[in-house]
């Protein structure tokens, strides 16, 4: 913007006293102007003119955030009751529509539990920032619910999940190999998000949140495109973001796997009618195991030993590799990026087209200091990279290990990790519904159920 004036300086319009003024003042760098607030003194008005106050429209009242928290708790408790006791898909659906409207379209998707993870991380690593109680609660409450009753948060409180849930029209089944390997990504994303938040670089979860733009009815063009693509894919691959991207989902999954209570497909004992088998759009129903086939062999035992031994190896290799890639990872930090750019191409320092460079040059900060700061950030990435890499290695190894552990199962049940507690499967279960068409030609089964 300074350029605007510089460009206008050799004005052809000479008989203008303004020009003289420009000459006097253009030479003063803009920064200086800030301190000289009273270049022109406040006039002494002859009339009764009162100097108006600058308007300061208020933000949303802070206590409203406690209302958000209250609603979150209410929604989660209600869903818990609907999932465990009432067993009603229809009601869960309506609660989720409410959440979508409130947390999504009304509250514009901020703050959400998914993003709160980064606020918490930042507050732990940055002394200048303290996380507010509500944000902390938004992070913790869904996890505690997951630990108690499974992922009810995903079912009916998370606007990101609900918007995808509502657009499911014809879900296709995904092969386990595809699901499991894509399922690695949320963990990697989680690690990256923590690393970037801890280094104060960026909140990548928020930045690449595909749906928040839809809630706000406006975002950068590519984010809108991404959001719409997710929804289009979501018509056929149910909840793609939740299953293959969401980093908070990864945490919920871990909690939910060990939950105390959980949604069960049948209200009583499973009669193995297989009706629910294809009801889950998320492939989250585990089938009864085939005793003959599903048994750990000697080979599997050695594989287990091998994978277990692989854990430290993968952790080390992962740590080494990711820490080595600190150069790439840290270049997302604007200071590191700028320092790299200016050191590699010093001629750019004269580039007045690039706003960042121009602002840096006129800030009076030397490149030396910038480089020093950038190096400190890089070191953080190199150090943090070890943890991130070890975490990724551990996740890979555990996923492999999980594939050679065989569990006996005699009924159809929800996979506690993958199940979103949406309740669809419950509608398919004939148990407790004697008039269900399934019993038409097998009346003896009714008694059993």
């Amino acid at each position: 913007m300074v350029r605007l004036y510089k460009k206008h300086i050799p004005l052809k319009n000479h008989n203008n006293i303004f020009l003289g003024l420009i000459f006097l003042l253009m030479t003063v760098p803009t920064q200086i102007a800030h301190s000289q607030q009273q270049r022109f003194p406040k006039p002494e008005f002859q009339t009764e003119y009162q100097i108006p106050e600058t308007e300061r429209p208020n933000p949303r009242a802070p206590f409203m955030e406690y209302l958000d928290l209250f609603l979150l708790l209410a929604v989660l408790s209600l869903t818990t009751w609907l999932v465990l006791k009432k067993r009603s898909r229809k009601w869960i659906l309506w609660v989720s529509v409410f959440s979508l409207l409130y947390f999504g379209f009304y509250r514009n998707g901020c703050i959400c539990s998914v993003g709160s993870l980064q606020n918490l991380t930042l507050s732990l690593f940055n002394e200048g920032y303290s996380v507010s109680f509500t944000v902390l609660a938004f992070f913790v409450v869904p996890l505690l619910f997951a630990l108690a009753v499974g992922r009810v948060f995903c079912a009916s409180a998370c606007p990101l999940g609900i918007i995808q849930d509502l657009v499911i029209v014809k879900p296709i089944k995904l092969s386990p190999w595809l699901q499991k390997s894509l399922g690695l990504f949320p963990f990697i994303y989680l690690g990256l998000a923590v690393l970037y938040a801890a280094t104060g670089t960026d909140f990548i979860i928020c930045r690449f949140d595909p749906f928040v733009g839809i809630f706000r009815m406006g975002a950068e063009f590519h984010m809108i495109v991404l959001g719409i693509s997710f929804l289009l894919i979501g018509m056929f691959v149910a909840r793609p973001y939740c299953r293959f991207v969401c980093p908070y989902g990864a945490l919920l999954k871990i909690c939910s796997l060990n939950s105390k209570y959980h949604l069960s497909i049948t209200p009583k004992d499973c009669i193995n009618c297989k009706l629910c088998k294809d009801s889950c759009p998320f492939d989250a129903i585990d089938f009864p195991t085939d005793e003959k086939e599903n048994r750990a062999s000697r080979k599997d035992f050695w594989k287990f030993v091998f994978y277990a031994a692989l854990i430290p190896v993968l952790m080390f290799v992962g740590g080494w590799a990711v820490s080595g890639s600190y150069k790439l990872l840290s270049s997302a930090h604007p200071d590191v990026y700028l320092a790299n750019l200016l050191v590699s191409q010093p001629e750019l320092m004269q580039n007045t087209e690039n706003l960042d460079i121009e602002t840096f040059m006129s800030s009076g900060k030397t490149l030396e200091i910038l480089v020093e700061e950038a190096k400190i950030i890089q070191e953080k990435f190199r150090f943090g990279g070890w943890f991130l890499g070890a975490f990724i290695g551990l996740v890979i190894a555990l996923h492999l290990l999980n594939q050679v552990i065989f569990r006996k199962r005699s009924i159809y049940e929800a996979n506690r990790g993958d199940c979103f507690s949406c309740g669809r499967c419950m509608d398919y279960c004939p148990v407790g519904k004697p008039e269900h068409p399934f019993f038409k030609d097998k009346p003896e089964m009714v008694v059993k159920s």
């Binding site: 050799p10 052809k12 319009n13 000479h14 020009l19 003289g20 000459f23 006097l24 253009m26 030479t27 003063v28 760098p29 920064q31 200086i32 301190s35 000289q36 029209v169 092969s175 499991k180 390997s181 894509l182 690695l184 009815m217 406006g218 063009f221 018509m235 297989k274 088998k277 294809d278 009801s279 993968l314 992962g318 590799a321 080595g324 890639s325 150069k327 790439l328 590191v336 320092a339 790299n340 050191v343 590699s344 010093p346 320092m349 040059m361 006129s362 009076g364 030397t366 490149l367 480089v371 950038a374 990724i392 290695g393 890979i396 996923h399 492999l400 594939q403 050679v404 398919y428 038409k440």
Partner: protein, 612 residues
Amino acid sequence: MLNLDFEQQMNETEKIKRARQIAIIAGVFTAFVGVLLLLNYLQIKKSDPLNSLVLEKLVERLSSEPNNQHFVEEIRQVDLLMRKAYFTSLWQVRTGAYLMLFGAIVLVLSLRVYYSLRFAIDQPSADQIKEKKKRQLTQRWIGFSGALVIILAIMSAFFTMNHLKNYEPKKMLVHSKSDDESIEKVEIVSIRTTEKETDTVIITESTDVEVKQPEVAITQQPKVVVFNEETVKKNHNAFRGSWGNAVSSSTNLPTSWDGATGKNILWKTELPIHGYNSPVIWNEKLFLSSANTSKRVVYCYDRNSGKLLWEREVNNIQGSPATQPKTTEDTGLAAPTLTVDGEKAFAIFGNGDIIAFDLNGNRVWAINLGVPDNHYGHSSSLLTWEKKLFIQYDTHKGSKVMALSTETGKTIWETVRTNEVSWASPILAKIDGKFQLIMLANPNLSGYDITTGKQLWSVDCMSGEVGPSPVYGGGLVYATNEYARMVAVNPKTGEKVWEDNYYLPEVSSPAYHNGYIYIATTFAVVACFEATTGKLLWEFEAKNSFYSSPMIAEGKVWVFDTGGKAYIFESGGESKLISSPELGEKVFSTPVFADGRVYIRGIKHLFCIGVN
């Protein structure tokens, strides 16, 4: 369906048909709105109506023909059109987004109905692949994916360059200086013209400036700011001039002026807050500081015009005390003089705050050294050389000398001193081809190595509350203090060459020139001694006492008494008063010289004296 009669089945197919129709309509509608939105986006992106080139061109043309009504009309029309285009597109986007959302909701609902009716799950599918096979496949793919991630990380480790690693600060040139300097040139021209010429002449001058612009563009290459002996000699960059040695290389200085009539006073500007420090100069900029108990400020003036270029309040420094230490009125919180290293100006205040600004007033670094325990107030000025900022920090709670990095403010070295609290400032003297930091306090006069901070020599020779700074000349260091003595010390051997106690200054520091020592005392006497022997050569009774220190410039001795009367003597063994002009304002600080001008800070104003 398991149990549907025919009629119901008809109903079902009807419903399916409806749902499909609605879905198609909603789909087409949504896609249509989407395409419109996309087109709108592309169009706005292509021709940003608020930064319209057409409008800019028109305005440019208008400025060359300001009376052309046709242009004016056209601009107004285009402006209106552009604003309309912008706000209409905003409205379109908002409305379009809502329409699209509506369409999408209908589409999803109808599709759901359609699919749920058509593909209701009634029979479970059969398993095709065996569990074991699935698991094997899964393991393989997890392995692949994991390997992919790790390989990508390793590849990025090997194939991304880290330019920062090879970065050497030496290569780096001080940026943006040239740019500023070129602007300064323009500034001088324009200011002079506005001062001297009428409006019409400005035009020719400004075209002149325009012609000069290409030249300016050439000098916009980065260049190193030269901070060496030559440039320091040219600039009065510290208390008592270059290296604090009371000698200026300036010439063509005026010897007569009158503050009352304004004769030879080129400009004077009021200083809003008081301070006892003297100005310092780097090229066209003059720096000084002021402080009261509520704020501390650094000012930068254009020394040609007296225009305030910037003022910066010194605050928000970590460790800086909330309440200011008590000082006496004749010292205050801004007694120490600033120093400049060509890139940055450094200031220290009586509360221990020390701050560096670049010459454009951007804060570079700031620290607090801890509040100095000093019953009058800290008054030792700053000196800089070889990227180090030297601070003599003699307090009741212990004394030290430190060198801070001029770039970062970090301590490079710090040496503990054993002397009492003092008020003198350090000087730099070239001894055996190497600069030494020389400081005076009670009881010792000592020299320090500037690279390591090691004390090189020390002579116990002083007593009392030491105010005057030492001076170096002719191979000897001269130190003096009221109620004590004046001594000449050979810094190489540490021996006292002579000692005398006839005339002694209290605040004002001595000056050396061509074998003569000059002092100015609180009892209003200027005296000259033979430097090698200490013999009193002449004395001169002035009107008022001296706080300001004598300076040597153009072969003359310049000194201001506290009443604002200046005494200009011919330097030499005989008392030859050239003139004694009046400033008309009390003076406590030391004059500053820069090509043909004398700058002096009075109690209220800053003066620029030169032949006009």
